[in-house]
């Protein structure tokens, strides 16, 4: 996991090549495909942030929607209620978006600190149930419009305006422009996650995942470390959350905070394989394009849950290391390294 490879290929050249493709892609792809690719980037960050906790630390959160949706809601409410009165002239929409995004991530962090403190007191299944329950509590609050600003089950609109920067018009809501906003945030975020995963922090996380008692015996404060990983995971999930809200232009309890949203990174990670850094990204790619593929066939689209459920069943039962495990196995085979690592 900490070896410097992606799917068995050298990490740095592979990552740079992928980045180059991502920069060129929107100039080649039709607008709708750019939109799909934007979602892939956000989902990859969502899943990788989630997997910092699951794959690396061994804690399965079934409540990451509370950070994803919570951050989005904070951004959306700020843009709706505060942004119009900000005094930045033509640059207001851009500045407002930046402030709202930071605020959203802070809100996700603020939720994660107490929730994480309580949740890491329990392990495995209990941890999963606990995070699920916390996120459903937030869902209930937002759905019932407890805070008075979330507009209940109808949700809110998240609309970006056009900025006027010294005569230059910048429309963040333009599909290609917003794609680059996302890439500009996701690429460094992924790099930071990669560094974190390969840092002593990541190693300690893996030690806890493998054997928390032994880790504790080595002098590691296990709970404190899990708490730290929890909050860090929530921060990156929050970043994904503030990016996705303007992309979808709307937020609602059902589409942003429900436990089915918490299941998305779980599914992507299972698809891609949790025990490698790149697994969740591969999973996000498969997840989004399978969904796109499904929309091409009305019969399948009507039954996408069945298709996904069956896929997960097959992968969990037959390929515990996910699609990226299979890909790495294939790469190794082609390069003649033997294929037993799948």
């Amino acid at each position: 996991m900490s070896d410097e490879t992606i799917l068995g290929l050298p990490a740095r050249p592979t990552a740079l090549a992928a980045l180059a493709v991502l920069v060129v892609a929107p100039f080649v792809l039709p607008t709708f495909q750019t939109y799909v690719l934007s979602e892939v980037l956000v989902l990859a960050l969502f899943a990788t942030g989630f997997n910092l906790l699951y794959g690396y630390t061994g804690l399965l959160s079934f409540g990451h929607a509370m950070f994803f949706g919570g951050a989005g809601y904070a951004l959306g409410i700020f843009l709706r209620d505060v942004a119009p009165s900000l005094p930045f002239g033509g640059a207001t929409p851009l500045v407002a978006f930046a402030i709202a995004a930071v605020l959203g991530v802070l809100v996700a962090t603020a939720i994660a600190i107490p929730v994480g403190y309580l949740s890491v007191r329990l392990e495995e299944i209990y941890f999963a149930m606990l995070t699920l329950s916390f996120s459903m509590a937030l869902y209930t609050l937002v759905n019932q419009n407890y805070f008075g600003v979330t507009n209940g089950s109808d949700g809110i609109l998240v609309l970006l305006q056009t900025s006027n920067l010294f005569g230059f018009q910048l429309s963040l809501y333009d599909r290609v422009t917003y794609y680059f906003v996302i890439l500009l945030v996701v690429a460094p975020a992924m790099y930071i996650l990669w560094r974190v995963s390969n840092s002593p922090f990541g190693l300690v996380s893996e030690a806890i995942r493998e054997n928390s008692e032994r880790a504790s015996g080595l002098g590691i404060d296990v709970r404190r470390h899990q708490w730290g990983a929890f909050v860090l995971s929530a921060v990156f999930t929050g970043i994904a959350g503030v990016l996705v809200a303007p992309l979808h232009s709307s937020l609602s309890p059902g589409a942003s905070l429900h436990w089915t949203i918490s299941a998305e990174p779980v599914i992507m990670t299972v698809f891609g394989g949790p025990y490698s850094f790149i697994g969740p990204t591969v999973g996000a790619l498969f997840y989004r394009y399978i969904r796109w593929g499904i929309t091409q066939f009305p019969l399948l689209e009507a039954h996408w849950q069945l298709v996904f459920g069956t896929l997960i069943l097959v992968i969990v039962v037959f390929a515990p290391r996910g699609v990226s495990g299979l890909l790495k196995w294939a790469v190794d085979r082609v390069r003649g390294n033997g294929g037993e690592s799948a």
């Binding site: 209990y126 606990l130 609050l141 997960i312």
Partner: protein, 288 residues
């Protein structure tokens, strides 16, 4: 102010339905070590089977009730033998994800068969009236649900504590390998436990069907409440599942008096309190 009999009864009838889900969830976890995310979906199937059998096939609520229990029990047994058995030696989290995938599959199939619209079911004629007592009147059907909930607890307690089969279940749950060495047919026992847990969920769903309009999302709401209940009561504890279920039912029925929506929030707050002060649950703790 009069005694809040209405709220107490509403809470208990809600709790009885929760109990039928929570007990299966707790039993399956206690014995098999698998947290069955799909248990709410099984409950939901129970409601639909009872609807079809009672309204379209036989016209009898009682036949529908039994059919729902048996059909869902059988489905549970098939799921255990076909899928869950394959991942016993794997991570608990793999098992959770597997049962989550089952939720997707079951929900989708239900939507295909019965449609995604609201379904309603008539209360059985025998219980359609109100019962008058203590200066109040209350629907007989809800009283019946309470009786079933308490009876299920009684039968279950007796079966686990006093019968030979119950002893086998307890032995296997405390040490699977030792039980197998002593001649317990563990795989068959597991299938049996899954059958019983699913059977109870099916009965719970069938009982719920005449009380509310329902959709394939019925299971989602129930499974979250069942999770809260078993965390409060202690996962694997049957007494805990019962007390937890009744407690949550009462919290929800009394919460409505305070303000709309409070009823849905209170269970989460109760769970957080339990976790802070007694993480193993009120009745858990003698080592899982």
């Amino acid at each position: 102010m009069a005694l809040p009999i209405q709220e107490v009864l509403t809470g208990l009838s809600l709790g009885s339905r929760y109990f039928l889900v929570a007990i299966g969830l707790s039993l399956i976890f206690g014995v098999l070590g698998v947290l069955n995310f799909a248990h709410g979906a099984l409950y939901m199937i129970g409601a639909y089977v009872s609807l079809t059998v009672a309204q379209n096939v036989t016209g009898s609520f009682w036949v529908g009730l039994v059919a729902a229990g048996l059909a869902v029990g059988l489905l549970g047994a098939i799921i255990e033998m076909g899928l869950i058995r394959r991942v016993y030696d794997r991570d608990e989290l793999d098992q959770l994800i597997l049962t989550f995938a089952l939720v997707l599959v079951i929900t989708d199939l239900t939507r295909t068969v019965w449609g995604s619209g609201n379904q309603t079911m008539a209360t059985p004629e025998l219980l359609a009236s109100n019962v008058h007592f203590l200066g109040t009147s209350y629907p007989a059907y809800r009283l019946f649900v309470i009786v079933v909930g308490f009876a299920a607890m009684g039968v279950f307690w007796y079966a686990i504590q006093r019968t030979y089969l119950g002893r086998l279940v307890r032995a296997t749950s405390s040490d699977r390998d030792m039980a197998a060495l002593l001649g317990v047919n563990v795989p068959r026992l597991y299938t049996g436990v899954f059958f019983v847990g699913s059977f109870l969920a099916g009965i719970g769903g069938a009982l719920a069907a005449p009380m509310q309009a329902f959709t394939p999302a019925l299971g989602d709401q129930v499974i979250i409440n069942a999770f809260v209940i078993v965390v409060i009561g202690g996962l694997g504890s049957f007494t805990g599942a019962f007390v937890g279920a009744m407690f949550i039912g009462l919290l929800q029925s009394f919460g409505v008096l305070i303000a709309t929506g409070v009823g849905q929030l209170l269970p989460f707050l109760a769970m957080i309190l339990v976790l802070v002060f007694r993480p193993e649950g009120l009745f858990g703790g003698e080592g899982q």
